[in-house]
Amino acid sequence: MADRICRAKKSLILAVAVLLLTGCAGRPLIEREIVRAIFFAREDGKEHAVLLLQNQESEDSSDYEVASGEGDSAAQALADAAESLDGVMFYGLTDLVTLPADCDWEQLQEFASLLYETAQPSPEITLFVMDSRTRDNLEQTAGDLYDEMQAVEKKYRISCGLESVLSQANQAILPCWQETGYGIAVLRAGAPPLRYVEPVRAQLAAVLCGQSRKLEFVFSDGSISCTAGATVLFHALRDRTQVILRLQDASLSSLTQDIPNEEQTLRRLLSAELEDAFAQLCADTRAIGADPFRLGFWQACLQGAPGNDLPAELVVEYA
């Protein structure tokens, strides 16, 4: 028995010696730079990356620091920003990334690859297409922007994580940052991006592609306000695709004297507004060969063929 214990001890000592000799002990725990958000920008032909870092010396969790870098590519800009910091970068808590205002599908792919390599595994990263503000402006406003974007994401129940934005092979829908609310960019491989800044179309597009579950806007020249939860159902028929938009707890109110505050009237106006917006969205996206609402998928599943040329209609229901 004693002999066995002795042999076990020798084996363990040997194992530890081997580990020490082969450098298996790993790196010590060191101070890290916790990145909360990355803002990419393009200025004068150069790529810029502004990192919003958690200030670990402050007790206030909303106290941030900023680091920035530039380069010929986004990867170089990110590396340049990281080099300006002393600690090891930690992207595990990054939950927001903004892309340059003129970002197209091909550039989105490059940014996505970069994010998968550096910020992985954080698929919960929310993506926004930025407005055309400069790097200096970004450095000054990064902290406020981050808080405002988080607030918008919460308010409109937007779910535009990295994994959902990239879930289609040749196209993507991305929310665009606007001072009030959000817009929508439709990106398609080999086509110029479409951008909707008008709230009805932007929010309808976000709901139809599954990135939002809430509508909150003012329409009809600012005379009616609408707030509603929204779910979508697709019916693929032989001659058309029916998109049923079900609005829950819809709250409509007239903001002017011109329109009577009657529920039926307001609902009829809202339905007409949404149907117009849907028709415009379908026409625009078809023109660039995109199908962001996956109408072709439902046609293929239920009717056996994609039926990309079939008309689509929006039916608004109130729950």
């Binding site: 214990i5 076990a8 994994e163 879930s167």
Partner: protein, 334 residues
């Protein structure tokens, strides 16, 4: 009787699950996987069955050493895959040595066959619960329209077939067990079917979650778990990590048991403890292997492991076949 000869089927199942759960990237699209599912099951089950038949006839010192090397390489790969997952999730926090100790120390308490069998069943149950929680937590993000509609290509089908024909050591291990009771009825076939179906199920879940981005996702199952939320729990990936780590320990214990059988380690009864020095030696070898291979390309190592497993199975089948044809009498022991 059951206490003397506990079934290791649960441990074998767990070993197959670990291969799928710790995969750094997905291997094929679900539709191609479904199309090649049956052929994959048949191929791997056939190889396992042929191996089980021919191993008693073919075994010799060189082949035993080869099998031990295969198991050690497999164990090392499992530890390294767990390490790469941890280092991706918690960079610069958990080192390889820590991971090695985390998974190897529990093996010291799993040196008895009955302990392996019982623990494997418990961990299998926990894994099932963890998988259900994972699916429930990400259910809101699973979208049917994320399934890809592109026409099936020959290259994609070949990739799926190649992935499903991966020969894991768990399909060869039943050949080592001493009696039929431990193997159970149609063990190899059930294992092959179970492993392939689970693999497809995970790929389906991930395709519903990631859509076209699935092949680019690193540690996709963990990423999906990280996005999941259930009631007041925002993130549940820690639950998955804990159970996966336990599963790796059970798998290592199973491999240790197989290595002791192959090395003819002294054991009074079938259910007796594996000697502590033997365990220490096993742990030391694994630590050394992990330290040496820590910077090697993980995908290439996995491919080489698969090639080695196929080569080994082919060699055993060839030698066993020749001996069967020439009327060679198999030795009594397994």
């Amino acid at each position: 009787m059951k206490r003397d000869n506990p079934s290791l089927y649960g441990a074998l199942q767990l070993g197959l699950l670990v291969n799928v759960l710790l995969r750094a990237q997905t291997l094929f699209w679900t539709r191609e996987g479904l199309a090649t599912l049956l052929s994959g099951i048949l191929v791997t089950a056939a190889v396992g069955l042929v191996f089980a038949r021919t191993w008693p006839l073919a075994q010799c010192l060189a082949l035993r050493c080869g099998f031990i090397a295969l198991l050690l390489a497999g164990s090392g790969l499992d530890i390294l895959s767990l390490w790469q997952l941890y280092s991706a999730v918690y960079p610069d926090v958990v080192n390889l040595f820590g991971i090695c100790l985390t998974v190897l120390i529990p093996v010291a308490y799993l040196r008895r066959v009955s302990a392996i069998a019982q623990t494997a069943n418990v961990v299998l149950g926990l894994l099932l619960v963890a998988c259900v929680i994972l699916v429930l937590s990400v259910a809101e993000r699973l979208r049917i329209c994320n399934l890809q509609m592109a026409a099936m290509g020959e290259a994609d089908c070949l990739d799926a077939m190649r992935a499903q024909c991966t020969l894991y050591p768990e399909l060869l291990l039943p050949a080592l067990w001493p009696d039929h009771e431990k193997r159970g009825t149609h063990t190899v076939l059930r294992l092959a079917a179970f492993g392939a179906v689970f693999n497809i199920g995970v790929h389906l879940l991930l395709e519903l979650f990631f859509g076209a981005a699935m092949p680019d996702a690193r540690n996709p199952l963990h990423q999906a778990a990280r996005c999941g939320a259930l009631s007041v729990f925002d993130r549940l990936e820690w639950l998955q990590l804990i159970v996966w780590t336990m599963a790796v320990s059970v798998k290592l214990a199973l491999h240790l048991y197989a290595v002791t059988r192959l090395a003819d380690a002294p054991r009074t009864t079938e259910n007796s403890l594996t000697a502590m020095p033997f365990f220490a030696g096993y742990a030391a070898v694994l630590l050394f292997l992990c330290a040496v291979a820590r910077n090697w390309d993980f995908a290439v190592m996995s491919q080489w492991r698969n090639v080695a497993a196929w080569g080994f199975a082919a060699a055993v089948a060839g030698i066993g076949g020749i001996r069967w044809l020439t009327g060679f009498a198999a030795p009594k022991k397994a």
